[in-house]
């Protein structure tokens, strides 16, 4: 087993110097907002398309409902002491200097409303209790700043009570979506999932085409008969990749193919559900559940033995919720839910790849690893990717301690922010990560999340960090001998 504690880790001071919290510039980021949702999308996902009549009361009713349904929300509305520990921890504040992007300030937008309508003090003496009406101005602030949060949970790691702003953001977005306020990007993606089975809206024939194209490509390049089976009834494994892997990050898709070819596993993707990344997480419970159910349904339709989740952060967050959302998974082989890197680590420890790996194949790279927020802080996948890298990479360097593992910075575009109109926020939020990568002087930034793989090349370029972005599995299959 690789001893990753012994790999060189750059100690903090240098990066601390660069990342001094910026001066406060109130509402500097308030102009950066998502496009509002379109009716063609909202009607497909059972949401009102525009602000409903009597929206203030409807919103407060929904708020009351969520307070009764979610212990985290109820507790987190009460117990914050505004100590300020989180204020310099959010990448969106560090990038923009807008104090409304302090996790506590973001949450206070919701707490002010909570105190106004749900506490004795706030109902009777709103001024003395820092309470505020849920009016148009407040809704505007909610829409702006709850869509400048990537639900990455970095703040919860530094909060003495573990207050998780992601839960608060999710609740705020659920309330807003129930009164007809949602974003074009998120609603469009969820609607696409119901239409085509994936976030990118790739129709089944195009998906099959892509897979055949990849097969021919690899055959030409390597001479290996690597297959990318689609809808193969009775396969052993249903792979649930992020659909971007078959479109933008084809290196990762090829890596799945090579790995399963090497292992001789009969695997398949499904055209009913070729997407792991669950955008319902960024919208509301009902859609989160519906989107996630497609995975189980696809697995049943194809009668597979087990489901493997691919390199996708929000997919893994959804995977963790699967038994809760969609019922026990005991019709599948345990363990479940199962991540491809967990399987890989198990096989590596069993010695399955003994003598089959040539680390020097990656010697032209100095590799560093970016922990996606959801695998690190929601999914306990901290050691597995590092262990895999330990088997297939000679030159590995960790970023500074306060930017990796559970302290990892979000790439800047998670949580439904990966959309063009938010580019200023995305680039600002990507700054801490970019500076940390720059500090390592690595030339390959590996990660296991499709959103990170989409955002990081842009943000690295923007912050002038010359680095290639790719998957961990891609490096692993580079080193694999056939």
């Amino acid at each position: 087993m690789a001893k990753f504690d012994e790999t060189p880790i750059i100690k903090d001071p240098a990066i601390e110097g660069i990342l001094t919290p910026p001066a406060l510039r109130e509402h500097i980021a308030s102009g950066v907002r998502c496009w509002p949702s379109k009716e063609k999308d909202t009607e497909k996902i059972n949401l009102p398309s525009s602000l409903v009549p009597d929206w203030q009361n409807k919103a407060i009713e929904k708020f009351a409902e969520l307070l009764d349904k979610n212990q985290a929300l109820r507790v987190y509305m009460d117990i914050c002491v505004r100590c300020g520990a989180c204020t310099d921890k959010c990448q969106f504040y560090l990038g923009t200097g807008d104090p409304q992007n302090f996790p506590v300030a973001r949450a206070e937008l919701m707490r002010k409303v909570y105190r106004r309508y749900f506490t004795t003090g706030g109902r009777n003496m709103p001024g003395l209790n820092d309470s505020a009406d849920f009016d148009e101005e407040m809704l505007h602030q909610w829409y702006t700043y709850f869509y400048q949060c990537s639900e990455c949970r970095r703040c919860s790691v530094f909060c003495p009570y573990g207050i998780d702003t992601a839960e608060i953001t999710m609740a705020a977005r659920e309330i807003m979506s129930s009164i007809g306020v949602s974003t074009k990007y998120v609603t469009e993606v969820v609607a696409k999932v119901y239409d085509t089975g994936n976030n990118l809206g790739i129709p089944a024939p195009a998906w099959i085409d892509n897979c055949q194209f990849l097969e021919e490509d690899i055959q030409e390049e390597t001479g290996l008969p690597i297959r990318f089976p689609v809808d193969d009834y009775g396969a052993d494994v249903l792979l649930v990749p992020p659909s971007a892997d078959n479109f933008a990050n084809t290196d990762t898709m090829i890596a799945y193919g090579k790995l399963f070819y090497k292992l001789g596993i009969r695997w398949t993707t499904s055209t009913y559900c070729n997407e792991g990344g669950n955008f319902g997480l960024f919208l509301n419970y009902e859609n989160m559940k519906k989107v996630n159910k497609r995975i189980i349904d696809a697995a049943r339709m194809l009668n597979v033995k087990t489901i493997l989740w691919g390199e996708c952060g929000h997919a893994w967050r959804g995977a963790i919720l699967t038994p809760t959302l969609n019922g026990p998974m005991d019709m599948f082989d345990p363990p479940y839910p199962y991540h491809i890197h967990q399987m890989l680590v198990k096989l590596l420890r069993q010695g399955v790849f003994k003598g089959q790996l040539d680390k020097s194949a990656n010697d032209h790279y100095v590799v560093t690893y970016h922990d996606p927020c959801n695998t690190a802080r929601a999914g306990q996948l901290l050691d597995e990717p590092r262990e895999v890298l330990g088997y297939c990479v000679n030159n590995f360097i960790e970023m500074p301690r306060d930017t990796i593992r559970e302290n990892t910075y979000c790439c800047g575009a998670g949580g439904g922010l990966l959309t063009d109109e938010l580019m200023p926020i995305r680039m600002a939020g990507g700054k801490p990560r970019a500076l940390a990568v720059k500090h390592t002087q690595a030339n390959f930034l590996s990660t296991i999340c499709a959103i990170c793989k989409a955002q990081l090349p842009d943000s690295m370029k923007y912050w002038d960090v010359p680095v290639e972005v790719g998957g961990v599995l891609q490096l692993f299959t580079n080193a694999l001998k056939y």
Partner: protein
């Protein structure tokens, strides 16, 4: 009857009435909050990883949070030092106050008597530091609101009057104890005729009344934070997290 005697008996009746009201308000307020928290389910696994995988580990994690503030230590060393000393001082002071409520007084309480005042000063100094930090850092000044200042002012006032009645204008211990035991046995007697003590005691009662509707709830809430108090058992067979209010999809 002299007018000062009349005023003192009025103050006494007010204080005794306020004491019972505060006790009731605190008990009912906290009970209400607690029932609210406990009957609300956590609908999905919410734990922040890396997390312990056993219930015992989760208990240890919460105990660590309560006693050592590890997250705060990671976040900000100065804040950690201030907050930790503040709470240690507070715990020691509360423990020491047992000598006003109990008979016989536990011997440990008596043993700490020589250093008791030190904790009083520690608590006051830490409160001042936290207040200064709140005002001096632009980031904390920005997020501070009136309830933050109310809580700090109450705490600071209690600390200051508490130190004063133990040093500068000492209150007679036997009188205090008679008064407290009288309250506790529902057989109230007159409080000590000592203005500073009356202020100290009144501020404590106001704090008790304020407690259940304030951020001071973090004292109980820290045990109930789902991101910290649950183990990560997603992949352990038979440990499925069930959402009680979930409905089947239409």
């Amino acid at each position: 009857m002299e007018s000062s005697t009349v005023i003192w008996s009025l103050i006494s009746y007010f204080l005794i009435g306020l004491a019972y009201f505060a006790a009731l308000a605190f008990a009912l307020g906290m009970l209400g909050k607690l029932i609210g928290y406990l009957r609300t389910p956590m609908p999905w696994p919410e734990v922040t990883t890396p997390a312990p995988t056993t219930e015992g580990g989760a208990v240890l994690r919460v105990l660590g949070d309560v006693t050592l503030f590890p997250n705060l230590f990671k976040a900000d060393k100065w804040l950690w030092a201030g907050a930790w000393l503040f709470h240690i001082g507070l715990a020691a002071i509360l423990f020491r106050h047992l000598r006003y409520f109990t008979y016989p007084v536990p011997s440990l309480v008596l043993y700490m008597e020589p250093v008791a005042l030190f904790f009083g000063y520690l608590f006051g100094a830490a409160a001042l530091f936290l207040f200064w930090r709140r005002m001096a850092l632009p980031r904390t000044l920005y997020i501070s609101n009136i309830p933050d200042y109310i809580a700090l002012a109450l705490m600071g006032g209690i600390a200051a009057t508490g130190i004063l009645v133990s040093t500068w204008a000492k209150v007679y211990l036997v009188d205090v104890k008679a008064f407290m035991l009288g309250l506790l046995t529902f057989d109230p007697v007159m409080p000590p005729q000592h203005p500073l003590f009356v202020i100290h005691f009144t501020l404590v009662l106001l704090l008790l009344i304020y407690f259940p509707s304030s951020k001071l709830l973090h004292a109980g809430g820290i045990f109930l934070s789902p991101s910290r108090n649950s183990p990560y058992q997603v992949q352990i067979a038979g440990k499925r997290h069930v959402n009680p209010w979930d409905k089947p999809l239409r």
